[in-house]
């Protein structure tokens, strides 16, 4: 079973993502901070990280770059799901090494589709 790590500091958003992905047969774990994300990834690398940019301890770009810099974790697919929706934010996401960039608000159906594609 594929594993997805949902990283967002807002519980409502984590719940929304979880419910959106319910139709998929995947195992979901959650993290509320950058530290938790890295800890979880190192413990058991997921098949996809759905990562928010605004996290209390470090931003999503930093998390992404940290993963890419670590040879053991560099291949972990990352989807940045963010309320920062400007062109510069997208460029920053690409520069940090994110595989997918998606903005909030989002349609659960769209998210489901993009995640399914990313796992395929």
């Amino acid at each position: 079973m594929k594993r997805i790590l949902i990283a967002d500091d807002i519980a409502d958003i984590r719940q929304l993502i979880r419910l959106s992905l319910e139709p998929l047969d995947v195992q979901l774990t959650e993290a509320g901070s950058a530290g938790e994300v890295l800890e979880e990834v190192r413990r058991a690398p997921p098949d996809l990280i759905i990562l928010d940019v605004v996290l209390p301890d470090a931003d999503g770009y930093t998390v992404c770059r940290t993963l890419r810099a670590d040879p053991a974790l560099a291949a972990t697919p990352v989807m940045l799901l963010t309320a920062r929706a400007q062109r510069a934010d997208q460029e920053q996401a690409q520069a940090a090494g994110a595989d997918v960039w998606m903005v909030k608000p989002f349609s659960p159906a769209d998210l489901l589709q993009r995640v399914a594609q990313a796992l395929a």
Partner: protein, 652 residues
């Protein structure tokens, strides 16, 4: 036959003869012959008479002449025979004629008619009778050169003996032309005289003032009448009299000298005079031109002052200005330019325009292009500098005709405006981002609720989440509006009045307690202390609600939140502090410094929405009411927030 009869008859014959001449209109010499013929009777009439017919000539050498056309015999010693022309004139007559010439008539030359190529072609004459005697002849001649017979001939009656006759043709046109020329000359001289800015005095011998021009009146403050006849020395300071006297007595033809003069009020005039000796015929001895060099110096001082003012303006101007001359060398720069670019005066002296541009580019990020300064459009361009410090300048340039400033470059510092613009953009981006998070919840959960079948409990929970997120959006929008209003016109959105601080606190705590059942908010209000505050009560409640909500949100459910009233006569005189103390997660010093800025969120406590605007709004609302926000915190040890508000008088 009486003499008068004879004259009468002679006259008659003359008239007849003239009529005949007119009829025959004999050309040239013929006329002279005919004319001679009628001179004879005159000769008969006068014993030793003289008839002189002459014509004015233009001799072509600038000097008018009179040509003798015909005359009667003049000799006393022989019978007078009217010749075609008189060869000579008697001495006395010549003298007389010279005298006439001196008296204003042009000179007379004694030309022989026999050599004359041109002669009158017609005559018309009338005798002039004085008493019993014909003393002259008035005649009109039509000139061969096409002169009009307007030619009026004047008579100069000369009484030689008792009945000598002399007729002089005087061409008045020349005199009129001369008079016109003299009038014009005189008008020109008058204009120069009147219009001169130098004071002009005509001085007679001994320095008596004969004439003055208007400038002289202005200089001295006296009228023309007051000046005429006065001694010029009276206008000169006493101690300068000897110098003036020497000058007038034996000065050179033209002399220039500085003299201290004085005007009517006794004010000293620092004057330069130019004294010119005049020809005796002019009627005055000297022309004295006086220039007030004090005024001239005054102009120079004024100009210098003006220049200095301009210099100060340019020096004080925040706009950097650099001017380049015709050879594109720096001819001027002001302090603002040096300040903006971080340059030294010594660095740029005589700098070429090209070097200037190169140095400017060296301070800009790589790849910056400057528009050509030789583009007369003078368009404004943003120029970002990295060195010596980051700055945003607006650069424009002009081509001018100003000497020494063919190209002028202007640099305006807009770093601050650019920063404000940047902050605005950031604020908008942050606001949009802040709205997106709750909207994500509303839209996402709504879509799920619509498309999936959840357990009724889950459904209910999700509806609750949507409602909560929608409220968050609503609150954020309200707060944004409040902030915008605070930015624009804080005083108009507030209704300040005196209130009982305790009553306001109780209302807020009661409302919050009912919204958060199970949470403990301790309101510690001493019985003896019932302070009054001057605030907008509704806004104070809003602020307290926010601060207390934060306290509840960031502290464990089991902990208590304490609300007290504070006084601090030293730090906050005239204010009352409303302190909210929680036992929550607290903030680091960094977070504390950031808190109160718009869109700051201390920590994600797993709650639904960002609380970015709240504390910023509290701080700004408080300051708009004359209060302050005071916060202290330590991570893990809770946070204390004090709202200092102005103390008030009696409750309204």
């Amino acid at each position: 036959m009486t003499a008068m009869d004879q004259v009468g008859k002679a006259t008659e014959r003359v008239v007849q003869a003239l009529a005949a001449i007119q009829r025959s209109f004999a050309p040239d010499g013929a006329a002279i012959d005919v004319f001679s013929a009628w001179l004879a009777p005159w000769q008969a009439v006068t014993d030793s008479g003289l008839v002189l017919i002459a014509e004015w000539l233009d001799t072509g050498c600038g000097e008018p002449g009179l040509r003798l056309l015909a005359s009667s015999a003049v000799r006393d010693d022989g019978p007078a025979a009217a010749g075609p022309a008189a060869q000579t004139l008697p001495l006395e007559l010549e003298q007389l004629l010279h005298a006439t010439a001196r008296s204003g008539c042009p000179l007379i030359s004694n030309a022989s008619t026999s050599n004359s190529p041109a002669a009158p072609s017609s005559f018309l004459g009338l005798p002039l009778v004085v008493g019993d005697h014909v003393v002259g002849l008035i005649a009109v001649a039509n000139h061969p050169r096409g002169y009009e017979p307007e030619l009026l001939l004047e008579i100069e009656p000369l009484l030689l003996g008792c009945a000598h006759l002399l007729a002089l043709y005087i061409d008045r046109r020349q005199r009129l032309a001369l008079e016109t020329r003299l009038r014009q000359e005189s008008a020109r001289q008058q204009a120069v005289w009147d219009g001169s800015t130098d004071a002009l005095f005509l001085l007679g011998w001994g320095g008596r003032i004969d004439a003055v021009n208007p400038a002289a009146c202005r200089l001295t403050g006296c009228s023309t009448d007051e000046l005429l006849g006065r001694s010029f020395a009276g206008l000169v300071q006493t101690r300068q009299w000897p110098a003036l006297a020497r000058l007038l007595e034996q000065g050179p033809e033209q002399h220039r000298q500085s003299l201290m003069m004085c005007n009517r009020l006794g004010d000293a005039i620092d004057a330069e005079i130019v004294l010119t000796r005049l020809a005796p015929a002019s009627g005055s001895a000297w022309c004295c031109a006086v220039r007030d060099i004090r005024t001239g110096r005054g102009d120079a001082v004024e100009l210098a002052r003006h220049c200095e003012q301009l210099g100060q303006l340019l020096a004080a101007s925040p706009v950097g200005v650099a001017a380049f001359d015709e050879h594109l060398r720096l001819s001027f720069s002001n302090p603002a330019l040096l300040r903006l670019l971080g340059w030294d005066t010594a660095d740029i002296e005589g700098m070429s325009f090209e070097t200037f541009e190169r140095r400017l580019l060296a301070q800009a990020p790589v790849g910056t292009l400057l528009p050509s300064a030789l583009d007369p459009g003078g368009e404004e361009r943003i120029l970002r500098l990295e060195h010596p410090q980051a700055a945003v300048l607006v650069r424009s340039s002009r081509l001018t005709d100003v000497p020494g400033a063919s190209v002028i470059v202007y640099l305006r510092d807009v770093t601050r405006q650019a920063e404000v613009d940047r902050l605005k953009s950031e604020f908008l981006a942050a606001a949009a981002q802040e709205l997106r998070t709750p909207l994500a919840g509303i839209l996402g959960f709504s879509e799920l609720l619509l498309n999936r079948n959840f357990h009724p409990d889950t459904q209910r929970e999700l509806h609750g989440t949507v409602l909560r997120q929608a409220r968050a959006v609503h609150r954020l929008v309200e707060e944004l509006l409040d902030l915008a209003q605070l930015d624009a016109r804080a005083e108009r959105m507030l209704t300040i009045a005196v209130h009982d601080a305790g009553a306001v606190l109780r209302r807020v705590v009661d409302a919050l307690s009912s919204r958060h059942p199970g949470r403990h908010i301790d309101l510690d209000l001493p019985e003896t202390d019932r302070p009054r505050v001057r605030v907008d009560a509704r806004r104070l409640e809003q602020m307290l609600d926010h601060v207390l909500s934060n306290a509840l949100q960031y502290s464990p459910a089991v902990s208590r939140v304490l609300v007290t009233l504070q006084h601090d006569a030293n730090e906050h005189p005239g204010q009352v502090g409303i302190a909210v103390l929680d036992g929550g997660i607290g903030m680091t010093a960094e977070q504390l410094a950031e808190a109160g800025r718009r869109f700051f969120r201390a920590q994600a406590g797993g709650v639904g929405t960002g609380a970015g605007l709240g504390l910023a709004l509290v701080r700004e609302l408080l300051e708009a009411q004359g209060g302050q926000l005071d916060m202290s915190s330590r991570p893990g040890q809770g946070t204390r927030v004090i709202l200092w508000v102005p103390q008030g008088g009696e409750v309204a």
